[in-house]
């Protein structure tokens, strides 16, 4: 709401300076968001919250200033000479549930022309455009008093009738020249034959005031706010009128607004004013609200004296009837937002001053809730990835549906069960993510285009799977991406990328004390079939890691040297569910260990994990630990073979092992493992 100060001063004669006024308005809830100089005047841009339609006018702001400074509001005089006899228009309200009151007057013999300069300037200062004297006056009164009016060309109203009724299904040509389809329950203003206006939203083109208009019928009405809002939304039409009607207008003031407008018209456009036609089927007597003095202070934590409470509500235009423990507040017709005790408490708080309310801390018992371990585990996951060199990204939850095709994701895959936004910002962001991989690839493309050649990124976010319920499944996922161009480095780093990323995952699993995990070949369609693995915990797949499939990488048109791009995604909920909580101490071993190595030459295709498995399965309790310390292919090893060397640590719980005992056991184990794997022991 734009408020020119010279106009405001006409209603309330304040003398405080502009800065003080701005601060005072802001501190009672009318935030001044901007100040502008225009035509030698100062115009305030006041942010009026949706609950205060009464402040969408100069009068409304003046009432607040009046309450603030305790000076009266001056109301402009409107003397009308009703020379035109009774109105020729017969008004009927057919749908009383949508229209509460409809009043109007005719003005016959007007001359359409320009408005006076002072009026044009005020209209412009408020951000509207002057059109002609009659239309300007309806706008002027709208700005001044907050009540929307509509002027019809009386001669175009067929049958000299006005009927307020629902639409049925129809179209109407509105003032802006557009044919508009109407919702069935839209409230219309009809003449004797046809709709002439969308009630509260916009007039019709055929009955609008034009240059040759001589006779006018001026409407001032009150409608059900939610009906106006619905119609305005369906039509996609938001006007100064609909904005005020959908927030609620003053059913009493509409009469004054009508009189104010016709008196201005008679003066500036000439013409004779008729008597008023006023259909007001039901009256809405103001309901008294009981306000308990002690409740006010309990809710606010204050010690506001009773007299101050009464004074505040009276300054705000309410009547107050004092009682011993409570008072009854009767709000004025323009304060439809005040209906309950809490509404009055709010008014008392506003004018007592939020800054005068004490500062205390709540007395609440200590929470008996178990601490949220999940939040701490998430923090641990983040910290683990961060220490492994990964930087956290946060992406929008949206996804381009075409990415699922790019990734060759099967039609029956769970990740195809996406939710679609009805009103996306664009097609690329029209689905909710079911996987974090597309966003991470976007991050890669962006950063590579910015010159980065070393990217280690991770994200923790929800993904959304439509499982047919009212709401989708929201699973927490961990995603990561690794891309590092090999550059000469001072200290040599020879670990292949796959194992760097796998190491980061193992470190995480270790940190979380997830013991029972396995990596096995993955069948994800977007991963390199020979350089990818699924991760399963307790036999259930919870994620994957792997090199992005070369065909997919080729489609990304990355302008960098060919390079493995690794992606990881894990179901974090499943992972965190397998975290082993609680630690139990186990006693330290009391007897010494003996280490023995064994190097095996086996077929290249035999996974190291299979050999480990065999070793672990050997029936003895004396093996404490098995570790792989060497992997070698090449010179001295036959084509198609590889050498793997393990250290076995032997220890007994109850005695010191002897060399000869271990010599014998290790020998048997060597024979066993060569038999199991078809390999030979190297270097014997």
């Amino acid at each position: 709401m734009r408020v020119p100060l010279e106009w405001l001063k006409e209603f309330v004669d304040f003398s405080i300076n502009t800065d003080d006024l701005i601060l005072k308005l802001t501190m009672v809830g009318l935030e001044v968001e901007g100040v502008e100089k225009m035509f030698d005047d100062t115009v305030l841009e006041v942010n009026v919250t949706p609950n205060r339609p009464d402040c969408l006018s100069i009068l409304g702001i003046a009432r607040e200033v009046s309450a603030l400074l305790n000076i009266p509001v001056k109301f402009p005089e409107c003397g009308i000479r009703e020379e035109g006899g009774p109105s020729v228009v017969a008004v009927e309200i057919a749908d009383e549930d949508l229209c509460y009151r409809y009043a109007g007057r005719d003005i016959k013999g007007v001359t359409i022309g320009d408005s006076p300069d002072w009026m044009k300037k005020r209209i412009e200062k408020c951000g509207m455009r002057p059109i002609n004297n009659v239309v300007d006056i309806t706008n002027y009164v709208l700005l001044e008093m907050g009540h929307p009016l509509h002027a019809f060309d009386l001669d175009t109203l067929r049958g000299s009738r006005i009927r307020v009724a629902r639409s049925g299904c129809r179209t109407i040509k509105t003032l802006d020249g557009t044919d508009r389809a109407l919702p069935e329950d839209a409230l219309l203003i009809w003449d004797g034959e046809r709709p002439v206006a969308v009630a509260g939203v916009m007039g019709g083109g055929e009955t609008e005031v034009k240059e040759k208009t001589r006779n006018i019928f001026l409407e001032s009405a009150c409608f059900l706010p939610s009906s106006i809002r619905r119609t305005s939304r369906v039509l996609g039409l938001k006007t100064e009128s609909s904005y005020r009607f959908e927030r609620g207008t003053d059913i009493e003031l509409l009469e004054k607004a009508l009189d104010r407008a016709v008196s201005l018209m008679a003066f500036h456009a000439g013409g004779k004013v008729s008597k008023k036609v006023d259909v007001y089927p039901r009256s809405f007597p103001p309901a008294g609200i009981q306000v308990r003095y002690d409740r006010v202070n309990r809710v606010l934590g204050t010690l506001v004296p009773r007299d101050e409470m009464i004074d505040i509500v009276q300054r705000l235009g309410m009547r107050a009837e004092k009682g011993p423990k409570e008072f009854v507040a009767i709000p004025p017709s323009y304060r439809a937002d005040i209906q309950k005790e809490i509404d009055v408490i709010e008014e008392i708080a506003r004018f007592h001053g939020f800054d005068r309310i004490p500062v205390t801390v709540p007395k609440i018992p200590i929470s008996k809730e178990a601490k949220d371990t999940r939040y701490h585990l998430m923090a641990k996951v983040k910290e683990s990835f961060r220490s492994a060199g990964f930087t956290e990204v946060i992406n929008y939850s949206f996804m381009d549906p075409r990415m699922l095709d790019t990734l060759n994701i099967d039609e029956n895959d769970r990740r195809r069960r996406t939710l679609t936004l009805k009103n996306p910002i664009n097609e690329e962001e029209s689905r909710l993510r079911t996987t974090l991989v597309p966003s991470l690839i976007q991050n890669l493309l962006h950063n590579v285009s910015m010159g980065s050649r070393d990217l280690r990124l991770f994200e923790i976010s929800r993904v959304f799977i439509d499982e047919g319920g009212a709401l989708p499944d929201e699973d927490h996922h961990l995603g990561a991406l690794y891309f590092r161009e090999k550059t000469p480095s001072l200290w040599k780093e020879e670990t292949p990328d796959f194992y760097v990323v796998k190491g980061a995952l193992q470190s995480l699993l270790d940190d979380l004390r997830v013991g029972d995990y396995l990596f096995h070949p993955s069948s994800e369609p977007f991963l390199h079939p020979g350089k990818s693995g699924d991760i399963s915990v307790s036999g259930r797949k919870i994620g994957f890691l792997g090199v992005l499939h070369p065909d997919i990488v080729a489609g990304l048109s990355l302008r960098v040297s060919p390079q493995d791009i690794l992606v990881v995604e894990m179901d974090l909920d499943a992972l965190l569910a397998s975290v082993r909580e609680g630690v139990k101490y186990s006693p330290l071993p009391r007897y010494p260990f003996i280490d023995r190595d064994i190097a095996l030459v086996v077929n290249e295709s035999l996974p190291a994990a299979a050999i480990m498995e065999h070793l672990r399965a050997y029936p003895t309790e004396l093996i404490e630990d098995i570790s792989l310390f060497d992997f070698y292919k090449g010179k001295n090893i036959p084509e198609g073979k590889k050498s793997l060397a393990f250290t076995l640590r032997y220890r007994a719980k109850d005695r010191t092992l002897t060399d000869s005992e271990i010599e014998e056991l290790h020998g048997k184990l060597s024979a066993y493992i060569t038999a199991q794997t078809g390999g030979v022991v190297r270097g014997t």
């Binding site: 935030e31 408490i345 962006h446 980065s452």
Partner: protein, 337 residues
Amino acid sequence: MEDLQEIKKRFVDDLDAAGTSVDLQQLKVKYLGKKGILTAMLKLLSTVPAEERPAYGKLMNELKTFIERESEGKESGIRDAERRSKIASEAIDITLPGKYTKTGRLHPISTVLKEIIDIFGSMGFDTEVGPEVELDYYNFEALNIPKDHPARDMQDTFYISDEVILRTHTSPVQIRTMERKKPPLRFIAPGKVYRCDADVSHTPMFHQVEGLVVDTDISFSDLKGVLEIFVHLMFSKNTPVRFRPSFFPFTEPSAEVDIGCILCGGAGCRVCKGTGWIEVLGAGMVNPRVFEMVGYDPELFTGFAFGMGVERITMLKYSIDDIRMYYENDIRFLRQF
């Protein structure tokens, strides 16, 4: 007799000439070894006349002691020098860079979110969560924002269907938690929220932290206390805090909470639009209608709720001037935090 003087003189010359521990070893062998000069002389003792023998023997012993002492003294000096020179030769260029895996960084939103959660955690707040894809009922209606209410204009909503939306604020977690639990309640609900406007100052997704305190005797003054403590812990003890009336359908009275502009110190700048104040929180006393919706007795219980935008607080904390930076995920940006 003169021989002994001669030997001593030769030994002193030899000792002077010895420069390394090897030289010294040879020197000891030459004089004291089994075939050494002194050993040979000792064998000749029997040829000395009997009356001179004690004196001669004594002189011989003195010479032997002298040689042993002198050569040992020199030897330890040489060893020290040799050890020092060996250590000196082992020096490396310690200015060459060390080898380490550069650790990653957390997203600034994540860091500030954690800070907010920790501050409220220290005040005894629990943490609650709720779905991001939400029913219209929880996001609006139960929060006293009926359909066709102008308050819906305050938030542009992404729709999945007429009844299913992306939550526009974290406030639905209030309702879901109150439906599940009975007072006293004291929790925050952090999370992502969505609004379908994207321009210079808006992103379609951002983060909020909601808070709710409900018990039998909670007042607006408690709201002021809790949020003032929060601002002081989040920014600094000297940050001024201002509460001014506002409107949210689910709280009454409602307040916007401003803090003194931390960039200009209240003098007025671009960030605070010259006012010296920056809006950081929305808050208010829980509207009794909301309590009715969840089946709490509004006569018995009072409470306050608040909500804040994490992006905004992060911007203030790190002087970030473009909200879109958060979601570009440019590594050069992310590595600054």
